[in-house]
Symmetry: C2
Subunit: 212 residues, 2 copies
DNA sequence: GCCCAAATTTGCACACCATGCAAACTTGCA
DNA sequence: TGCAAGTTTGCATGGTGTGCAAATTTGGGC
């Protein structure tokens, strides 16, 4: 007869799908509560209740409320840098980063990332968690750079570059978030800012000097 | 009539001195415990006991163990960027940052910062806290840059530059920490790395391209 | 030296977090 | 259909962080 649904590989299995659904249900519920009660304005019990699971189950999926809230950020960054390995090996790094970070970001997703970023201003725990997510992304980027750059480059310069790139990404996102307060996040806003800031990274910040 | 000093006299009052002493006693005790039991290997009760105070008093000084542990980092960064305002107004920014960040760092202090940084690898909470401390420093730097750069510069570029500078500082520290595993932290190691990475920031990372 | 107002420390209570454990329950599959 | 493996859940436990008020210390005026 017709073959059963896809094999129980990573993403095909029924159980995997269920878990994935539960995960998103939880982080969605968390976001919803954060919108109404503020980032730090609700407890795990409330969240578990909202998501329709038990308190204990929540902790099977996330170690903290903040982790549930920053999950979209984590997924965005992980997805972006995973693409880095798919790009042509001879493409200049800056271009590759621009293409992956600024690539397929939907307007909706961008708005979500900005919203979560903004929440971090109100809640130190959330801010810290978000910083860690970006930091993890930076480490992934460092690995990627190691592959793409001549072996002769020192760790110092590679790590500096990775950090600077991430900093540009953050700055671009902050700028986009700032513009977003007045509604409707411009789709290309993030990409545009990213292009400008990374461009400055290419040619050097010396032109920013007062005596430019 | 004796001129009443404002209750919150900065440094002269006896009470202020006592509080300062208690603060350092606590963070010293925290460091000591972290060395013997690992960063996440002890409780507030143990720490309070070690520092000779009550659990409740600990929370009067720090909101968490991690905050006590990262206090030296915080002080270093705050001290460094406070100096930024004392530097000649016409000095190029990069030079000013180099002078403040790499200025009066004792070998001893440098070793401490590296040690705390390394502990962050073992404890996510500590890592997050440390990231936040650096992030706070970055915000201070942004303010400083606003003053020192022509008014015409966009927030985007200023923030990108601040983030990139901080990233270079972190990379330099990581490099120094990596060298330190074999004891004896070279005094000028941090400064040396800082000089290299910030130099790259000046002239642009384009020269790192594979086709350099 | 004595005393007091202000500052600081402390104990206690309370709500919440995070995790191990084992019992209940689903679920996929032969 | 039945069962082994996976998942959810309740319970217990130890730890965190904070408000509150009582107790204690401290600096300084007299």
């Amino acid at each position: 007869m017709t073959s059963e649904q896809p094999p129980s590989a990573d993403s095909g299995g029924r159980r995997e799908l269920n878990k994935r659904a539960t995960r998103t249900a939880i982080s969605t519920a968390a976001l919803s509560l954060a919108r109404t009660h503020g980032p730090g304005g609700f407890t795990v019990d409330q969240l578990a209740d909202e998501a329709g699971i038990s308190r204990r189950t929540f902790f099977n999926y996330f170690p903290s409320i903040e982790a549930a809230l920053t999950r979209p950020v984590e997924e965005f960054l992980e997805g972006a840098f995973a693409q880095l390995y798919d790009r042509p090996a001879d493409e200049p790094i800056m271009d590759a980063v621009l293409a992956t970070l600024g690539g397929d970001v939907s307007q909706e997703q961008m708005a979500l990332l900005c919203e979560i970023y903004a929440m971090g201003e109100d809640d130190p725990q959330l801010e810290r968690m978000q910083l860690q997510v970006w930091n993890k992304a930076q480490q992934k980027l460092e690995e990627g750079l190691h592959v793409r750059l001549p072996r002769s480059e020192s760790d110092l310069l590679i790590n500096s570059l990775a950090g600077a790139l991430i900093a540009c990404g953050q700055a671009a996102m902050r700028e986009a978030a700032a513009e977003t307060v007045g509604r409707s996040p411009d789709a290309g806003s993030f990409q545009k800012h990213l292009l400008v800031s990374i461009g400055m990274l290419r040619t050097g910040f010396n032109s920013l000097s007062k005596d430019s």
